[in-house]
Assembly symmetry: C2
Homo-oligomer: 135 residues x 2
DNA sequence: GGCTCATTTCGTCATTCTCCGAAATATTGT
DNA sequence: ACAATATTTCGGAGAATGACGAAATGAGCC
């Protein structure tokens, strides 16, 4: 009773209960993204974005994948959360900010290679594949 | 963009992202309860319980009903949250604390009338009807 | 090694949350 | 009106959270 067995569920909910993190999750529902791409869409300091991503990851809602200098995050549906996440998507349906972020993200992904993450001389993030059905 | 359109969804999630409030919601899924009954199960100060209930109510997840000196709270599913709440229930499935609270609550409801809320001379809370399907 | 850049971690400050007892409010009964 | 009881609101102390720049870390390239 001390560490309270509701903790895992609460931690997951806490991870979602923040505007930035909720927007991030909505973005990652569409495609995997690296930190600087997310920063571009949200318009917050890189360290802040990184911390939010870490929070979602700690809650086991995201997983990361390193590619060169970039770290890509993508959605993860741990056991027992599938139905919950489906419910969450319905909660996000029709939220203007979410739709707007989606457009901003598409814009970012359309930018000439090297203008998001600085024009690094090397393995530019050339892609970010679709990962889930848009709706 | 200033007040952020994700606010309503975030507020709802924030309301849930707390052990006490999550436990309360799980309890109220079964039946409506008055403040002192909830206090009995959670074992926190009355004022604390009242504040948590108020929080869930502000998030539009509960509605209240006054009966004599007692205020009964019950679950409410505002538009667009039905699917989300269904997902939430699945998240609560199998959490020991939730099951334990359920038992403790049954115990409280079984107590001889007047031993939970003090033996008031009058319209004792004689009932607390089933309000939703257990699972 | 040294340079560059993406990301994470750290230090700090401001804000918000959470809890509880005390005081205020509401309702009923005498 | 007064007493009794359930609930809400208030005040404040302590903890947790969130934002950002600065410093540290990691990867690739010369």
């Amino acid at each position: 009773m001390s560490p309270s067995t509701v903790r895992p569920a609460v931690d997951r909910l806490k991870a979602l209960a923040h505007p930035a993190r909720l927007r991030i999750l909505a973005l990652l529902r569409e495609e995997e993204l690296c930190v600087c791409q997310v920063r571009e869409v949200l318009g917050m300091a890189t360290s802040t974005v990184s911390e939010h991503l870490a929070g979602l990851r700690r809650a086991d809602l995201l997983e990361e994948r390193r590619e060169g200098r970039w770290v890509y995050y993508r959605l993860k549906s741990p056991d027992g959360t599938k139905a919950f996440l489906d419910g969450l998507w319905s909660l996000l349906e029709g939220i203007p900010q979410v739709a707007q972020d989606r457009r901003a993200c598409a814009e970012v992904l359309r930018r000439p290679v090297g203008t998001v993450c600085r024009p690094g001389p090397q393995p530019r993030p050339e892609r970010a594949r679709r990962a889930a059905a848009p709706r």
